[in-house]
């Protein structure tokens, strides 16, 4: 088992079970207990690599649970999981993935391939299907990373059953995603140029504007709150790895290019 570098199997051997079984007796019904969900996350390709952004609100029914959630999670130096859905399961997925990748790298003395990483996430989602169908653990993530083999950044999005789809230019997920999906399509098709040719500043501005649009129409997506110094989490993935954008940078762009008409 260790020889194969399979951390998930190692956990199973230790008696750990990833998914809660939704269809067993005594399982909870999602309608009886409102779950923390609601989100907008997006990933887009720009000239230097991939940019991943997410709002910070977690809701349960009509309640705002928390306004400082980080939904753009670094899995390793070169990959990011942007999560939408039930946070408990999503954070657990991120932890399993993070440990799987580093366990593989350290035991096999080579990095897990980008395809291998995608497959690992698919497997987790597949194992999670019973919980997702019972309404207690649906997660619809975006996985973005730098494929060192091909030398480019890549974006993939998933359905709750674990099917993976490549987002050629961008991908969106979460309750607020339908609002911004159309905007992205329009801009990419008939805007000043394809999003993949945007500079870092333009891509970052676009991400902030998109999240602000989503927050406008989706009550489960949190907007920017300048007084509380509350900004979305935005990270870039380039050949140098994953780097978050500082709050100061976001603040400057937000006040200069997002808050009012430009």
């Amino acid at each position: 088992m260790g020889g194969q570098g399979d951390f998930f199997q190692l956990l199973k051997d230790q008696g750990y079970e990833f998914s809660c079984r939704g269809n067993e007796r005594g399982s909870v019904s999602a309608t009886a207990y409102p779950l923390t969900t609601g989100t907008t996350v997006l990933a887009l390709k720009y000239q230097d690599g991939v940019l991943v952004a997410g709002d910070r609100r977690a809701t349960a029914g009509n309640l705002v649970m928390y306004d400082r959630t980080d939904k753009v999670l670094e899995i390793d130096r070169y990959s990011v999981l942007a999560i939408a859905g039930v946070p408990a399961t999503a954070f657990e997925m991120a932890r399993v993935l993070g440990h799987s990748f580093k366990y593989y790298r350290r035991s096999q003395l080579q990095d897990l391939s980008f395809e291998g990483k995608l497959r690992a996430l698919s497997t987790l989602l597949k194992n999670n299907v019973p919980a997702a169908l019972a309404g207690t653990g649906a997660v619809v993530p975006i996985f973005a990373g730098f494929d060192s083999e091909d030398g480019i950044g890549k974006i993939f999005f998933y359905d709750i059953l674990g099917a993976e789809f490549e987002g050629v230019d961008y991908a969106v997920s979460g309750s607020g995603s339908s609002t911004i999906r159309g905007i992205m399509f329009y801009l990419n098709q008939w805007g000043a140029g394809p999003i993949s040719e945007y500079s870092e500043e333009d891509a970052l501005t676009l991400a902030l504007r998109l999240l602000t649009s989503a927050a406008e129409f989706d009550s489960a997506t949190g907007g920017v709150n300048t007084q509380a110094k509350l900004y979305p989490v935005v990270k870039r993935i380039t050949a140098q790895g994953v780097q978050p954008f500082s709050v100061d940078r976001l603040k400057n762009l937000y006040t200069g290019k997002v808050a009012g008409h430009v």
């Binding site: 260790g2 956990l11 670094e74 580093k102 366990y103």
Partner: protein, 274 residues
């Protein structure tokens, strides 16, 4: 016949001698702490001897590659399950040594019908500040030692002790360059002391036996320098830095190529490899 206590003691002593002989073939391994992190250094002829175990923890080994590999895997399992189920900060070199390495190695050493581990283990854990660094060395009999600024694996305990005293004569290195220079020097001295051991006759007449002398006289500087240059020409210098100044994902870094070239003391030339 091993039920008799005397026979058992004798068997263990034989085993000790056998293992001591095995390690004269090996390559010494040095780990030193400096402001930037912990530098680990050894030389290999094909199989690497330095590995990443967990976020802040590196493993170094001397001895048989198969035994080292076996222990490496059990440490990886232990570290990652613990780091996942509790937290990464609960994975420490201390716990890995005391729960993962020492008891296993000791048991194999004392069960005289089984093969012992032909391996000496070093686990280095880099802290946020140099004072929090931990370096654990475990001998082939399971005996482990803890230190915060240096760890030495050499063919004999007496050599390790002499080199440790030598290290303590100077104050802690103030830069990575100095750390590399001093680690190389320790390696050179240890390498020269690998094979030859003065032994003393203990007892007289029939009951006499040869016992390793504890007195180790260090070779001179020039001999050490030549040994290092010879190694650089013929073998592969393996260097790892556990860097405390970068993010946890980049802590373990192999020093090689240009980076190592720049750090090497000017007295040595690193030949370019194809």
């Amino acid at each position: 016949m091993y039920e008799e206590p005397y026979r058992w003691v004798e068997a263990v002593a034989n085993r000790r001698q056998y293992l001591d002989d095995q390690f004269t073939q090996g390559n010494p391994l040095i780990a030193v702490s400096c402001p930037q992190g912990i530098l680990l250094l050894t030389v290999h002829r094909g199989t690497p001897k330095l590995y990443e175990i967990y976020d802040r923890i590196a493993l170094g080994g001397m001895g048989h590659p198969a035994d080292l590999e076996k222990l490496r895997f059990s440490l990886l399992d232990l570290a990652h399950v613990e780091g996942f189920q509790r937290s990464p900060s609960d994975v420490t070199a201390s716990r890995l040594t005391k729960n993962g390495v020492a008891p296993v190695v000791k048991q194999a050493f004392e069960e005289i019908f089984r093969a012992p581990y032909i391996v000496k283990i070093l686990l280095a854990e880099v802290g946020k500040v140099p004072e929090k660094d931990r370096i654990f060395t475990t001998n082939y009999d399971g005996l482990f030692e803890e230190c915060s600024d240096v760890g030495i694996l050499a063919s004999r305990k007496s050599v390790e002790k002499a080199l440790y005293d030598e290290w303590k004569k100077e104050k802690a290195p103030e830069s990575l360059e100095v750390a590399l220079e001093r680690a190389l020097r320790l390696w050179g001295l240890a390498s020269l002391l690998q094979g030859s051991f003065p032994s003393e006759e203990v007892g007289d007449g029939e009951g006499s036996q040869k016992v390793e002398s504890d007195r180790v006289s260090l070779p001179d500087e020039e001999a050490a320098r030549q040994r290092i240059q010879e190694m650089l020409n013929k073998e592969t210098l393996e260097c790892v830095l556990l860097d405390r100044t970068v993010s946890i994902m980049e802590t373990y870094r192999v020093l090689a190529g240009d980076e190592l070239h720049v750090l090497l003391p000017a007295a040595f030339n690193l030949p370019l490899r194809p």
